[in-house]
Amino acid sequence: MREKIKKSGGSSKEDATLIRAFQAGNRSAFDQLVVKHKDKLFNLCFWVLGDYHEANDSAQETFIKVFRSLKGFRFESAFSTWLHRIAINTCKNRLKSLEYRKRKKMVSLENSGPAGETNPSLEIQDEAQSPLSRLESKEKLTLISEAMNSLPSEQKTVMTLRDIEGLSYEEIARITGFNLGTVKSRLSRARLDLRRKLRSVI
């Protein structure tokens, strides 16, 4: 799985070529970058926010920010690291917003895309109301997503970047701005907490 995500990320050389093309005035180069990174970025936003619509909104907002700043990109870091950093900050701001807090209790898992086969709509209010008859994969997704959402946002972010996105400790440190020791300790705590929360499931 981790390999699959990493492969979908593509090479940084390809990213650099597209960025230069965009900086030279080729608007479609940006679209190619979006197409290349959208799923990875969306997945990250979904696991950090725990809501499909919020993830969609945040992913789009992230790309808009990228579009506005890409002309000034200096290649001092990998594009994917820069993209992740913008996405994490966008999600963090969204988590902080009052409106989001109000809606936090409602975990919405919904796929509004026409394909829909991989992310069927699921909406639960709390664990007790979770229907036992759901398909195992959907239930698992819901339960893990809920358990992840109950973690502190920084632990959740580090865990998403490591266990969902498959990034190295160093990459996580670069994206989040934490030092390596903080990344390790937050990841360790997040995993222990999640194991405790999912004891009955896993």
Partner: protein, 330 residues
């Protein structure tokens, strides 16, 4: 190593990022600790579960949505667009409306000020008399009592009491009627013959109103003591022969006015004599605002005011300045 410390290392142990020595320590502990072994197994299961999660994909039309969002201007841009585009038409229009608004506001403020001024103005003699007992705090509070069916009296805007606000002295003109022309050639006779239209009983009443026990009232003194009154003037400041031109009767009135000022706890600042001989002096005084009404009442007994003295509406000032002029009616 204790189990608690060991559990902290299990995360890195799973990721394979521990150095060889620490890894060997963990391996050794796991051989002997069943709890930590179980902990490791469940942690691995959690990590595996997360890794095996199907990625949540973006909607198929993600790029189209993004294009739409990027094409639609932000709320701020929309507002700016509505306000200023097209600039050639909207900016001059907005400028013109801003100017019109400013003119309107200026005009309104001016009209309001004009409306306020007459209401602050002095009332006519009758009105001031009826209002004498009730102190007027605010012009807006003034309500003239009238019977049912009675038509309100025609309102005459009186002069604005600007002096009350700007602390200009209140000018009072006292009319003094002379029975005979002034005659410098016979000063002794003048004392006998010159008579000002200040009635004896009026002065007596003024003296009675002072009602200060133990204080000598000049008005009740006999007329023969004019010389004493004249001395009083000289004592106070500028002795002038001009005073003699006006006669002893005037000197007495002058003296009484000064005494009246002092009676109401006021202070004579100066007695200014005109450069032209034979003209009466002007008294410049300062009196407590609270005693103004009493002062006017008593002053009008001493000499008839040429015009109705203004009613003091704003009594917030502690003291007010008064300028008393004497007008000789031929």
């Amino acid at each position: 190593m204790e189990c608690a410390g060991m559990k902290e290392l299990l995360s890195e142990y799973i990721d394979g990022t521990l150095d060889a020595r620490t890894r060997a320590t963990v391996d050794e502990h796991l051989l002997n600790c069943r709890d930590c072994k179980e902990e490791l197994a469940s942690l691995r299961a959690v990590v595996r579960a997360l890794e095996s999660m199907e990625p949540v994909k973006a909607p198929e039309d993600f790029l189209e949505q993004l294009h739409d969002r990027m094409a639609s201007p932000s709320l701020f841009a929309k507002i700016i667009r509505k306000l200023f585009v097209p600039m050639r038409i909207k900016v001059p229009l907005e400028f013109a409306s801003a100017v019109a608004m400013a003119v309107l506001v200026f005009a309104l403020v001016n009209v309001q000020q004009k409306e306020r001024r007459p209401s602050e103005a002095l009332f006519s003699a009758e009105q001031s008399k009826t209002r004498k007992d009730a102190p007027v705090e605010n012009a807006a509070d003034i309500k003239i009592e009238r019977k049912k069916g009675e038509t309100p009296p025609a309102y005459k805007p009186a002069p604005v009491p600007e002096r009350a606000r700007e602390r200009k002295p209140i000018e009072l003109a006292l009319l003094i009627e002379k029975r005979r022309p002034l005659a410098r050639s016979a000063p002794g006779a003048a004392l006998e013959t010159e008579r000002f239209e200040v009635k004896e009983e009026d002065r007596a009443r003024a003296a009675g109103m002072r009602a200060i026990p133990g204080k000598k009232t000049e008005a009740s003194e006999p007329m023969e003591e004019e010389a004493g009154a004249r001395r009083a003037i000289k004592d106070e400041g500028t002795p002038r022969d001009d005073v003699d031109l006006l006669g002893g009767q005037f000197n007495e009135t002058l003296s009484e006015v000064k005494n009246l000022i002092e009676d109401i706890d006021g202070k004579v600042m100066s007695t200014d004599y005109d450069a032209e001989p034979g003209r009466p002096p002007t008294i410049h005084a300062e009196i407590p605002a609270k005693n103004y009404d009493a002062f006017i009442n008593r002053l009008s007994v001493l000499a008839a005011p040429q015009t109705q003295p203004p009613t003091l509406l704003e009594k917030s000032d502690e003291t007010i300045e008064i300028l008393i002029r004497f007008i000789i009616a031929e």
